[in-house]
C-alpha cells in the first residue's frame, strides 16, 4: 500500500512542487494570502477562492484528460458549456423543477459527447476536426436556445450550486471534488483506465487484441460532454444567467493547458486525473497571483505561453534523448554502489 502511495506521490511531485512554489511566492509578497477564516459556517480566504474560481477548468480538465489519454482532443467543451448553461437557464425559467433541469442539461451535455464520439470512433475523423464542428456550431446553437438574449434566473436551488456551500466548502469545489474522485475511482479501480491508455498508445493494436475501441472512445467523449455540462451549470449558476456568447469562451484551451501542465502527454497513453486537477489549480493560482500583484491581467497570456513552451521542452523526445546522458551515469553509479556493498 505504501509503495502504491509512493509511486502516486512521485507522479504528482512536479505539480505539487510547482503549486507550492507559486503559493509561497504569492504569500511572500502578500502575507495575508494563506489566511483562512470561517464565517457563517463557511471557509473564506484566497486559497478557497482559487479552488472555487478554478472549478469550471478543473471539471473540464477531468473529462479532457480521459479524451487526451485516448490520443484525442475535445475542442468543443467551451461551446458545450454554453449550450448546457443555456439549456439549464431556459428550463428553469420555463417553470421546470430543479431536478428536471439538471437531468435534461446533463443529458444534453452527454448527447454532445456522443455526437463527438461517433464522429471520432465510427466515422474515423481526426479528433481536432471532429470536435471543431461542434465548437463552431455550438455557440450558434446556444444562442438559438437563449434566443440571443442573456437568460437570467433566480431559482434558489440552481443558484445554490454556483454560490452555496456544503460542509464549509463552496458548492463548486464540492462538485468537482466528488466528480473527480468518482471518475478517478471508475477508471482506476476497474480496467477502464488501462484500456483507455491502450487505445491512446495504439488504437489498431488494442482493437485487434479485443478492446471494444469504438465503445470506449464514445464513452470518453461522453465523459468530456458530461464534465462540460456540469461546468456549464456551475458557470451559469455563478452569474445567475446564461451568456451564450461568453460562457466557457476559450476554456477548452485552458483545460488542454491544465492537462498538459499535469504531465499527460498530448500523444496519448498514460494519464493522471489528479495531476490534471492540480494543473488546473496551478493555472488558477497564477491567475489569482497576477490579479493580486496588480499586474494587468493581460500578463496571464504571456505567462501561459511561457509555461507551455517550458513543458514542451521537458516533454520533447529530442530533449530527453539529448539529456539522457545525464540520467544514465547516475543510475549506473547507484548499481555499482550496491554491488560494492
Amino acid at each position: 500500500m505504501t509503495s502504491i502511495l509512493r509511486t502516486y506521490l512521485a507522479r504528482l511531485l512536479p505539480q505539487l512542487i510547482a503549486l507550492a512554489a507559486i503559493l509561497i511566492a504569492i504569500s511572500m509578497t502578500f502575507p495575508g494570502f494563506l489566511n483562512l477564516e470561517i464565517q457563517n459556517g463557511r471557509l473564506y480566504g484566497s486559497l478557497i477562492d482559487i479552488l472555487n474560481r478554478g472549478a469550471p477548468v478543473v471539471l473540464l480538465a477531468i473529462g479532457m484528460t480521459v479524451v487526451i489519454a485516448t490520443k484525442g482532443i475535445d475542442l468543443s467543451v467551451g461551446a458545450v458549456m454554453a449550450i448546457c448553461g443555456a439549456v439549464a437557464a431556459s428550463f428553469i425559467t420555463s417553470g421546470h423543477s430543479l431536478l428536471e433541469t439538471l437531468f435534461v442539461t446533463i443529458a444534453v451535455g452527454i448527447l454532445c459527447g456522443v455526437w463527438n464520439g461517433i464522429l471520432v470512433a465510427v466515422l474515423d475523423i481526426q479528433p481536432i476536426i471532429a470536435t471543431l464542428v461542434l465548437m463552431v456550431a455550438g455557440r450558434g446553437i446556444a444562442q438559438l436556445v437563449t434566443e440571443g438574449a442573456i437568460l437570467t434566473f433566480n431559482d434558489p436551488g440552481l443558484i445554490f450550486i454556483g454560490s452555496g456551500s456544503f460542509a464549509g466548502l463552496p458548492m463548486p469545489v464540492v462538485v468537482w471534488l466528488v466528480f473527480g474522485i468518482l471518475v478517478a475511482l471508475l477508471v482506476r479501480q476497474s480496467a477502464l483506465g488501462m484500456l483507455i491508455e491502450a487505445i491512446g498508445v495504439n488504437r489498431q493494436a488494442s482493437t485487434l487484441s479485443g478492446v471494444l475501441t469504438p465503445v470506449l472512445l464514445i464513452a470518453a467523449y461522453m465523459l468530456s460532454g458530461l464534465s462540460a455540462a456540469i461546468a456549464g451549470i456551475i458557470a451559469a449558476a455563478d452569474i445567475r444567467g446564461a451568456d451564450a456568447n461568453n460562457a466557457g469562451l476559450w476554456l477548452e484551451l485552458d483545460a488542454i493547458l491544465a492537462v498538459v501542465v499535469g504531465g499527460t502527454s498530448l500523444l496519448g497513453g498514460r494519464f493522471s486525473i489528479a495531476a490534471s486537477v492540480l494543473g488546473a489549480i496551478i493555472i488558477q493560482a497564477i491567475n489569482t497571483g497576477i490579479l493580486l500583484s496588480g499586474f494587468p491581467p493581460e500578463f496571464n497570456l504571456i505567462i501561459k505561453a511561457a509555461i507551455i513552451v517550458f513543458i514542451l521542452v521537458l516533454q520533447s523526445p529530442r530533449f530527453r534523448t539529448a539529456f539522457a546522458f545525464l540520467a544514465v551515469p547516475r543510475r549506473a553509479a547507484k548499481t555499482t554502489e550496491q554491488e560494492a556493498k
Binding site: I128, A244, A305, F319
Partner: protein, 322 residues
C-alpha cells in the same frame, strides 16, 4: 475526372448553386457592389486563409493567426501614434516580426518534435499577450497615408468597387496558387503532408520546409493584420478573436484534406466566398439572426468532412481492386 478534383468541384458546385438560390430570391445579390463588398469585407480573412492552406496542406495547423492579426494592428497603431515612422516602414518592420515569429514556431515544431497544435497554441497566447502589453485600448490610426490607401479603388461597371485590400487579397491568392503548384517549395509542402517519413526518404528538406511553412503563415498573418488595420482604421488587442477558426473552416470547406497532402489554394478562395455568401444572405434577409451563420457554417464543415471521408474510402476501395 480525377479524384483529387472531386472536393474542389463539390465546393464550386455548392457555391454556384447557393449563389443562384440567393440570386433567385434577391436579384441584387448579383450586383458588382455586393461582390466588391464581399471581397473587401473578407480580405483579411482570405489572406490569413492562404497561409493556413499551406500549413494544413503540410499536415499541420496554425492557431496563432488571429492573435498575430491583433498584435499587428496594435503594433501599427502604437508605432504610428508615438513615432514619426512612415507607415510603409512600420509595415515592413511588423512583417519582419510576424515572419520571424512564425519561423520560431516552425523551429520549435520541427526540432522539439511537438504537435503543431500545442506549439501554435502557445504562439496564440504569446502574440495576444504582447498585443495586450503594447496597449489594452482601442487606438485609432489617423495617419494621412492610411486615408490615401483607403481611397484607392478600381471601379467596376455597376458601381461596385474593388478596394486596395480586396485586390490585395486576390493578388495573394494568385501568388499562393503559383507557389503551391509551380515552385519546389510548393511540391515539398504537398510531400510533407503525405507523410513526414516518406517525404524525408524522397529527399525533401523537412526541417527547412517546416520552418518556411510557418514563417509564410506568419508573414501572411502579419499582412492580414495590416489589411485589418486598414479596414478598421484602428488597433485593438481584443480584435480578430477566433479568425484562425474561420480560416481553418474556409480551408476545409474549400476541399483541402485536414490530414494534409491534398487540396488547392483556389479551393480556399471558394470556401471563403461561401462563408461570405452566407453572411451576405443573412444581412439581405434581415429576419434571420446572425447565429444562424455559425450553425450553417458548422453544418457545411460537417458535410465537407463527410464528403472527404467518403472520397478517401472510395479511392482506397479502387486501389484495392486494382
Amino acid at each position: 475526372m480525377k479524384q483529387k478534383y472531386l472536393p474542389l468541384t463539390a465546393t464550386i458546385l455548392i457555391f454556384v448553386l447557393s449563389y443562384a438560390l440567393c440570386a433567385a430570391q434577391y436579384p441584387n445579390i448579383l450586383s458588382t457592389r455586393v461582390i466588391g463588398n464581399l471581397l473587401t469585407d473578407n480580405a483579411f480573412l482570405g489572406i490569413a486563409a492562404v497561409g493556413m492552406t499551406f500549413v494544413i496542406l503540410s499536415g499541420g495547423i496554425d492557431l496563432s493567426v488571429g492573435s498575430i492579426i491583433a498584435f499587428t494592428g496594435v503594433f501599427l497603431a502604437v508605432v504610428l501614434e508615438h513615432t514619426s515612422m512612415h507607415p510603409l516602414v512600420a509595415f515592413a518592420l511588423v512583417l519582419a516580426i510576424t515572419t520571424l515569429f512564425g519561423a520560431l514556431m516552425g523551429v520549435i515544431i520541427h526540432y522539439l518534435e511537438m504537435p503543431a497544435f500545442i506549439v501554435t497554441l502557445a504562439g496564440m497566447f504569446l502574440a495576444r499577450g504582447m498585443a495586450f502589453v503594447l496597449s489594452i485600448d482601442s487606438i485609432p490610426i489617423k495617419h494621412p497615408f492610411y486615408a490615401t490607401l483607403k481611397g484607392l479603388y478600381y471601379k467596376l461597371p455597376g458601381g461596385g468597387r474593388i478596394t486596395l485590400i480586396g485586390g490585395l487579397m486576390l493578388l495573394v491568392f494568385a501568388v499562393g496558387i503559383l507557389i503551391a503548384h509551380r515552385t519546389r517549395f510548393g511540391t515539398n509542402v504537398y510531400a510533407l503532408g503525405g507523410g513526414t517519413a516518406t517525404a524525408k526518404l524522397m529527399g525533401v528538406p523537412v526541417a527547412s520546409t517546416t520552418v518556411k511553412i510557418y514563417a509564410f503563415s506568419g508573414l501572411l498573418a502579419g499582412l492580414s493584420g495590416i489589411v485589418f488595420s486598414l479596414y478598421t482604421s484602428a488597433g485593438y488587442s481584443l480584435a480578430a478573436v477566433g479568425v484562425e477558426l474561420d480560416a481553418i473552416t474556409a480551408v476545409v470547406i474549400g476541399g483541402t484534406l485536414l490530414t494534409g497532402g491534398s487540396g488547392f489554394v483556389a479551393g480556399t478562395l471558394v470556401g471563403l466566398f461561401i462563408q461570405g455568401l452566407i453572411q451576405t444572405y443573412i444581412t439581405f434577409d434581415g429576419s434571420l439572426s446572425s447565429w444562424w451563420t455559425k450553425i450553417l457554417i458548422g453544418a457545411l464543415l460537417f458535410a465537407f468532412i463527410l464528403l472527404q471521408k467518403g472520397i478517401i474510402h472510395l479511392s482506397r476501395d479502387a486501389r484495392q481492386r486494382a
